[in-house]
């Protein structure tokens, strides 16, 4: 059986005035119907990996890979038109901050309907019904009311739920979530993750969860990739995070303050040049 997504030796680089910046330098992984976490600090290339899969890398960037395929489709060679038909329908992406990722001048319901109408031929009434059902699925208690609201009229947590609804309404096979809860309050965070978790397992999707928060990812995903300077330095089952081998992963875990322990000063991460090789 072909896996949902195969990534082999993916490289993303940006030409700049001062030379070529290599954001992603040879990332390999395959994804089935599972929850995969990608963790790393800013600049580690985790978001660019997600964007390359989604086809959202800026035009001037160079993407190369031995294989970058979604099922049997080769994502490197498909036309823009085919890309568009995939994006939103088969592969969907949730972005960090609903304040910026929702269209501010279009009511929420119409944005969800727009996704559906782009990919499916449905009557207006059907589309509306599907959108409302989706809003209900993300546990919005009064979908009829929220349907006509603008994004600025809802809270951050509600906005992110709308974003999830919009992305899942076409029933994608692969969902990429790029820091889906970083902009939310801690208490709301868990609520949104709970909804996401339920929908992903009910609908049998593959999920790539990109985050800087190692602990959160390990409690949410099945498998975790740890990225540093554009490469995957360690891959491990989320349940065995405490047994991480790579000094970077261990350093990252170790430098977090913990409620139950008292360590002064906090251990800091000593970066070694060879990690980035």
């Amino acid at each position: 059986m072909t896996p949902l997504l195969t990534v082999q030796n993916l490289k993303v680089s940006f030409p700049t005035r001062t030379g070529l910046i290599e954001a992603v330098r040879g990332v390999n992984f395959t994804l089935g119907k599972e929850r995969l976490g990608i963790v790393g600090e800013s600049g580690s290339g985790k978001s660019q990996t997600g964007r390359a899969i989604m086809g959202l890398t800026p035009g001037h960037a160079k993407i190369t890979a031995d294989t970058l395929s979604f099922g049997d489709t080769d994502l490197l060679t498909i036309s823009k038109r085919e890309r568009r038909s995939l994006r939103g329908k088969k592969i969907a992406m949730i972005l960090q901050d609903p304040k910026y990722s929702l269209n501010p001048v279009m009511p929420i319901g119409r944005q969800i309907m727009e996704t559906l109408q782009t990919h499916e031929r449905l009557s207006n009434a059907e589309t509306r019904a599907r959108a409302l059902a989706m809003l209900e699925a993300v546990q919005i208690s009064d979908p009829e009311r929220v349907f006509d609201l603008y994004p600025h009229e809802v809270s951050g947590g509600m906005g992110q739920r709308v974003m999830i609804a919009m992305m899942l309404v076409c029933g994608p096979e692969l969902l990429i979530a790029d820091e889906p809860t970083s902009a939310l309050d801690v208490t709301v965070q868990l609520e949104v993750l709970g909804i996401l978790d339920k929908l992903v397992s009910e609908r049998g999707m593959g999920l790539i969860f990109i985050s800087h928060d190692l602990r959160l990812v390990s409690s949410f995903c099945d498998r975790v990739l740890v990225m540093y300077a554009g490469r995957v330095v360690e891959e491990l089952p989320a349940s065995r995070l405490s047994e991480a081998q790579h000094p970077y992963t261990r350093g990252l875990l170790n430098c977090l303050p913990q409620i139950n322990s008292d360590r002064h000063p906090l251990p800091v991460l000593e970066r070694q040049a060879e990690w980035a090789l």
Binding site: S42, D185, L190, D197, D213, S219, P257, Q258, I259, L269
Partner: protein
């Protein structure tokens, strides 16, 4: 009890009738590190800003080292005692001033004369060499910017430092460095900290006592030992505690 370094009594801040801060009272002793946790909209930043005079408060009293302040008027003497570090190091440094200029300004305002040595010392203290002195803030990383922001606050030798989410815009490894730096500065200078954060773990690491805020009110004040042994009375604190422990899948 000795006279508190910072005393807030029934402070009320309202914006167009909305009570952002609803009669909050806090006493913070000299040399203490006091934490304030809560989610967005709980009024924690408003509290700090009202203390610093960045927004006015409508009623209540504010006493700093025995001197009372009202509204948003603060004198030079106040800012010699109280300085603030902001959340976003990308927004809190002037983009067209060099580090040197940034650090010179508070010195000029407060009439220091030995600026040369003070700037060098301040940079040294936050772990940046003099090589950083003539850089612009866009030439610095997030962690380095936050170090500059801390240097700028410490350069006038304040007694009280107001910290508004000083590490929430930073990576975990940089956060550890900044927290260590703040602790070091506090130890060396005997500073009083008032630190706002949404991260219970950061607060429990940095502070001895904390207040939990929700919708403009302090719902609970407790010390860190009580937090560690889970001795809290309100449901909201428990929720925050659960949330800080990560995602738990329902069976």
């Amino acid at each position: 009890m000795t006279v508190p370094a910072l005393s807030i009594r029934d402070m009320l801040v309202s914006f167009n009738g909305f009570r952002a801060l609803d009669e909050v009272s806090l006493d913070i002793a000299e040399g203490e590190s006091f934490g304030i946790v809560g989610e967005s909209g709980s009024g924690k930043s408003t509290l700090l800003r009202a203390v610093a005079g960045l927004n006015r408060f409508d009623s209540g009293t504010l006493t700093v080292n025995g001197r009372s302040f009202t509204g948003h008027k603060r004198d030079h003497e106040f800012y010699r005692t109280v300085q603030m570090v902001f959340q976003d190091p990308y927004g809190s440094l002037h983009p067209r001033q060099t580090v040197d200029k940034l650090l010179l300004e508070p010195l000029a305002i407060h009439g220091f004369t030995d600026t040369e040595t003070r700037i060098a010392r301040a940079l040294d203290e936050v772990g940046l060499g003099t090589g950083f002195r003539f850089r612009f803030s866009h030439q610095l990383s997030g962690g380095q910017r936050q170090r500059i922001a801390i240097a700028r606050a410490l350069i006038v030798e304040p007694k009280i430092l107001l910290l508004d989410e000083p590490t929430s815009a930073l990576d975990a490894s940089i956060q550890a460095e900044i927290l260590n730096l703040l602790e070091q500065a506090r130890r060396d200078r005997g500073l009083t900290f008032v630190m706002v954060s949404h991260d219970l773990a950061v607060i429990s690491h940095m502070c001895e006592r904390l207040a939990v805020m929700k919708t403009g009110k302090v719902v609970e004040a407790l010390d860190v030992a009580q937090l560690r042994s889970r001795e809290f009375s309100t449901d909201y604190t428990r929720q925050l505690m659960v949330a800080s422990e990560g995602f738990v899948r329902e069976a």
